[in-house]
Symmetry: C2
Subunit: 341 residues, 2 copies
């Protein structure tokens, strides 16, 4: 049997990078990166090429003929595109159906949240218009498009990243690995929420795309379920520092969501408007509603990584925190943060 | 163990009537009909009461307190509301969650079609506004609402009704049992499409709501899969008459869909505009796209009645046609047809 040929979209991003690594480590895949012509010189790409990743140059907005050329002989497509680029997957999915792709993994890769407007990142329907520009962020339109094509698919969602999960220490000792300050506890801090080490995403993806049981299904790939209080306790124990517990009430989160929604709809392209909306809606979904947990995922129809792969040893969260405290963890989104500076 | 208490919404309609009958025949349910105060004198309701159905008077638009009263001690809610009343289920579902209802069956009961705008009856999103009045028809909003409530549910869809499936005979012999003329063959007439005898819907529902395997799942309950040519052949054989085969091309159907969509969006409350849209979109979905078949249902995540209940003997389609030809079948929607005359 020949190796499975995987075309990865977004290989130089955080999620895409984890997936590229997971596929390469597994050793049973031929990995192709779909790269925009203007991005072929990225250092992150060169590093992947050094490890054997082949490049197919093509814009997501290219003609169907060009997309078909980029999809030639590909068995599996995995897409990790930016929040604002979700709808760019529509022509790719159509071409993938034509090309006979055996499995299309659209860009899910977010925590569990129900469809229908809880989170913009999942399937925002704006308050008064479908053609609202921000609607290009809706994953649900992509999922429905795939289903209408009768294209074999797997939707993979993941826990909140380990890398985003811990609060700052007053000593500043772990500031080097902080992407955001995380200094708020939502509600009483006892809502369980699933977590996934960003570095494990690729490990799960390598298993999932080789597994017939996951075809035309949603899969929730998570490492562990913890509450915020448990995370704070753990980091206090590791660091010997006390961390202030700044509680934010459900009412306050709902107020933030309402005002972030209003201003992001007025300025849909302004990250200063939509990033606060993402954050507020995440807090609403996992912190207040309690969506991001395996029981709810199963209710929504997901298979879970724990049930599919009981023998897989995920990254241990406490070990990860120790690693962060030791000073040797890797910060994430560092390129993006620089860009906004 | 006490009998299961079922509250049925729309018990005097065609689908609701089949369900009421199926539940009563099964003998293991206590059946309650949710009835608008203004409809308590309907003869169809009296007939159900004679068979043991109890009435709970309440408007779907009543206060939550009144809805909770109507839902008192109810185990299962089954909703069959009119196409334009889908969103009336939203407060009912919310109250059902509060009341601890163990299973909510929202109004599905249509043939298989994917979400995302193929059919208005399924989940129309209008071309330019979500708040378009016709959007009250969207089942998908109801389904998402249920999921956001984490309310136990089962969505049940069914094949195209036997009662709508056969063409007219030139002799006029079966005109008495025709609801619409059905004198068109979509495309080449060889697209397989699932059929369900309206009278079997209740038989399936009685099984499905007693079945743990169907909790939080979609179920496709169909009797048989046939093409239009097979139906015409069968009726020709039974009647001894030749039936003209008037083919309508895919292009013609697409044109009809486009123009029916445009005019129904201008006049969303006018049945003369939206009924042609339903018909054109059905023809698109089952006739051209070929959506209404078990293989596609399974791809979309449905369980099927054939796999769940292999021993169930559905109504035989050929026998049903003989019954129609013999002159003793019952016409459907006769009250509605009279109303439009």
């Amino acid at each position: 049997m020949s190796t499975t040929k995987v075309l990865l979209v977004g290989a130089t991003g955080e999620t895409g990078g984890s997936i590229a690594n997971g596929l390469l480590e597994a050793g049973t895949f031929e990995v192709y990166a779909l790269i925009r012509p203007r991005s072929v010189a990225k250092p992150a790409l060169t590093a992947l090429q050094d490890r054997g990743v082949k490049v197919r140059q093509c814009d997501m907005t290219a003609s169907e003929e060009e997309l078909l050329e980029a999809l030639k002989d590909i068995d599996v497509v995995i897409s990790t595109v930016g929040p604002a680029d979700q709808l760019e997957q529509l022509p790719l999915a159509k071409a993938a159906k034509k090309a006979g792709v055996k499995r299309f993994v659209p860009c899910g890769f977010i925590p569990v949240t129900p469809p229908g407007g809880v989170m913009w990142l999942r399937d925002q329907v704006s308050r008064d218009r479908v053609t609202f520009p921000g609607d290009c962020r809706t994953k649900e339109i992509v999922y429905n498009h795939i289903k209408q094509l009768w294209l074999p698919y797997t939707i993979i969602d993941v826990g909140w990243w380990y890398q985003f999960s811990y609060p700052r220490l007053a000593s500043g000792k772990i500031d080097y690995a902080m992407t955001m300050s995380n200094d708020e506890i939502i509600g009483d801090g006892n809502t369980p929420s699933a977590l996934t080490d960003l570095r494990d995403i690729g490990h799960y993806v390598a298993k999932i795309i080789s597994d017939e049981r996951t075809l035309n299904k949603m899969v929730f790939a998570y490492d562990v379920v913890l509450t915020q209080n448990e995370i704070y306790d753990m980091l206090e124990k590791i660091s010997g520092e006390q961390i202030e517990r700044k509680h934010v009430s459900a009412e306050e989160i709902l107020d933030r969501v309402a005002s972030a929604r209003a201003s992001s709809e007025t300025y849909p392209y302004d990250p200063a408007k939509y990033v606060p909306r993402y954050i507020a809606e995440y807090q609403l979904s996992w912190g207040i509603r309690g969506d991001n947990k395996p029981e709810y995922a199963k209710y929504l129809g997901y298979l879970t990584s724990k049930e599919l792969y009981p023998d897989f040893k995920p990254s241990n969260f406490e070990d990860y925190l120790k690693h962060v405290f030791s000073g040797s963890a890797k910060g994430i989104y560092t390129d993006r943060i620089k860009r906004f500076e």
